[in-house]
Chain length 464, copies 2
Amino acid sequence: MSYSEIKKLFRTPDEYIGKTITVPGWVKTVRDSKTFGFIELNDGTFFRNLQIVFEEGKLENFKEVAKLSVGSSIEVEGILVETPNAKQPFELKANRISIENLCPADYQLQKKRHSFEFLRTISHLRPRTNTFSAVFRVRSLAAFAIHKFFQERGFVYVHTPLITGSDCEGAGQMFRVTTLDMKNPPRTENGDIDYSQDFFEKETSLTVSGQLTGEAYAMAFKNIYTFGPTFRAENSNTARHAAEFWMIEPEIAFSDLKDDMMLAEDMLKYVINYVVENAPEEMQFFNSFVDKGLLERLDNVVNSDFAHITYTEAIEILKKNKDKFEYPVEWGADLQTEHERYITEQVYKKPVFVTDYPKEIKAFYMRINDDNKTVAAMDLLVPGVGEIIGGSQREERLDILEKKMDDMGLSKEDYQWYLDLRKYGGTKHAGFGLGFERAIMYLTGITNIRDVIPFARTTGSCEF
Amino acid sequence: MSYSEIKKLFRTPDEYIGKTITVPGWVKTVRDSKTFGFIELNDGTFFRNLQIVFEEGKLENFKEVAKLSVGSSIEVEGILVETPNAKQPFELKANRISIENLCPADYQLQKKRHSFEFLRTISHLRPRTNTFSAVFRVRSLAAFAIHKFFQERGFVYVHTPLITGSDCEGAGQMFRVTTLDMKNPPRTENGDIDYSQDFFEKETSLTVSGQLTGEAYAMAFKNIYTFGPTFRAENSNTARHAAEFWMIEPEIAFSDLKDDMMLAEDMLKYVINYVVENAPEEMQFFNSFVDKGLLERLDNVVNSDFAHITYTEAIEILKKNKDKFEYPVEWGADLQTEHERYITEQVYKKPVFVTDYPKEIKAFYMRINDDNKTVAAMDLLVPGVGEIIGGSQREERLDILEKKMDDMGLSKEDYQWYLDLRKYGGTKHAGFGLGFERAIMYLTGITNIRDVIPFARTTGSCEF
């Protein structure tokens, strides 16, 4: 069956007006009087609905159609006609409507407002609502925009492994992966679990970052990126934490922190532009019903040069305003979200890169600055969210990296392959991580991470 | 620092000839005589190397440069000049060469042939070799081609969950995901593991397929695809099985098995065309050094209409040739790889869709045909590999699906949400799965799955 897509009707109506077409879809609403009626039909290809008009004389099954319930699936054949005086630009005058599924009355998505909390309990149905169809179409477009951005620049996409035998940067708690019988696991003589009998013959976990293995590929391809799932077994039951989420981690060789920040700024602007251009209806919807200032804020991001400030400078500014904050401000302590938002929302009113953090609060692989107190790290703060990107120049000097690992009690043996990347043809290089869900929250104004993930996995919750 | 990329020099040389440029990269070879020398430099952006020529009078550090070791990283400034009578189209006449890293002599990737087995032990370095730089650039391009194909057709990309509380189609053994203390896990009164104290307060595993949750999204967006990692804890130590691999799973609503096969055929041709166009040097390399018939075989795929045959017809053909096979041929048994390859390589000499398999050997969700013996399933067989894609029309009839689940002993309660997709606005729909690594093996001629995954996870092996 050759179907016409509602999106194409709206984008290039001239190709369809006056023609007989067939459109399948789901019924959003039905209004009928005695001899004719209207159906708002959505086929999933577009945010807006197609109006179907049906008349008693023309349809064999007029009575059944007039009683169609919300959510039913149908196939409509008819002529597309212009409606110059109506809200919608055209409508489909039906000459045949086949009913594929008559949706029963206990369907939860009747035409009324539902809370996001309720909709989470029917995550398998919620993409059919306006809000979630907009969220997940934007999510899809943003994902593609990220690939497009990097591929156009010659970056190589690397699928870094998810199951890992190392604890990477030791960041966050990890999920164990095992095929051992939990009830009666094999044990060694001293009673420990005998992981040599596990699937991988060792202890394994789910990765928290693809960065380290990504670096290996940057030392071959110069510019690479990862885009894949990562996991955190943190017991954080907040609106911003999920146990399973997607990350984008580019890594660029022969590059320093400045190059890294330019890349992050270019990428963010590119993704915003792509989504605004390719999902205008959805973005307008968010701007009207979810977050009134959204489009203006995104516009401001695209059209401004991001600000740059060192951590030390940021601390000075924050100290002058310390009564505004709940958490204390002290050189050496990490910035809290309230501090980050103050800097980006009140001081700069645009995105800000904060650079050169104290080495003690950052990961071992970050490059030590000449002051020997700070590292070449950067966080990108954006209004409305706070930190959205974190990155750094990596320590490429083998001796300094080894000393740092010794100081932090990390096993050089476990990381031998990582040290090899410095020893053999090592170069200056840098990279960053963008949490994809945070980016989608930022792009849509949605404030709970559970509402931008198709089927969210959070503390105590793994449904569907 | 503004660097020029070697890829751009080769693609648009006219923009660079006669100009002073700076190129960073890694030394592949050095040849020197007393007063001048040549370096083959690779910067990771391109399969081919840039020839650097350096002279004693022009370089301050001529002696050090002449002694550069393989794998060292350098930065070269010079003028790009044409070399009409040489093998390479141009060379870079160096007037400055800065040495960033002098690669030590124990570097394993000296200029000689290494076995794939050895290179697997240095997976962090092997993308620097010709073969693996070609493999992983093709992998990146193929991944993008898949996204591009579906996005151009309006498909919505869905990130289906990886951690799951259900065992999906019950396909294959699964990895358990847990944060419980393995040594002393909490137990219920009767001694079982108390999973209510686990991170998700229930038993969880790594998914084997995103299909079922993908179907939920097809019932909202009509056309969707997934592209993400999946896991199998099968103890299969073969050249074709990995414990962690990536899958592409489109799902199309208002569509039947014919639409599904058209989509699969279009997709495969699109990806081949994209890779051949965008990685000509790499594909030529595979054709010359890995698999002599590769380009001809791919060309044949792109230019032929795929054949169609039912399982029953295939069995008849195979029975006539049964002495050619190790495994018996019998209606009702699954096809073995030798059977699949015979059909596609000997009978048709091109890709073949085999359809309508016995219902007993296929998954519960496949749509039962009117003969009540077979299901609307399809496998795509390709020369050189056998099965590369498996798909089906899904059972959309609620009563028939419920009966099938009862017959197979599946819990309708666990799958209530999946049954909802039929009950509420269900439509005919179909989909398929493409194992991404199998596709890369097919595209490159590489015969071991460990050699198309950056850091492979297989039985007993989880390194790096």
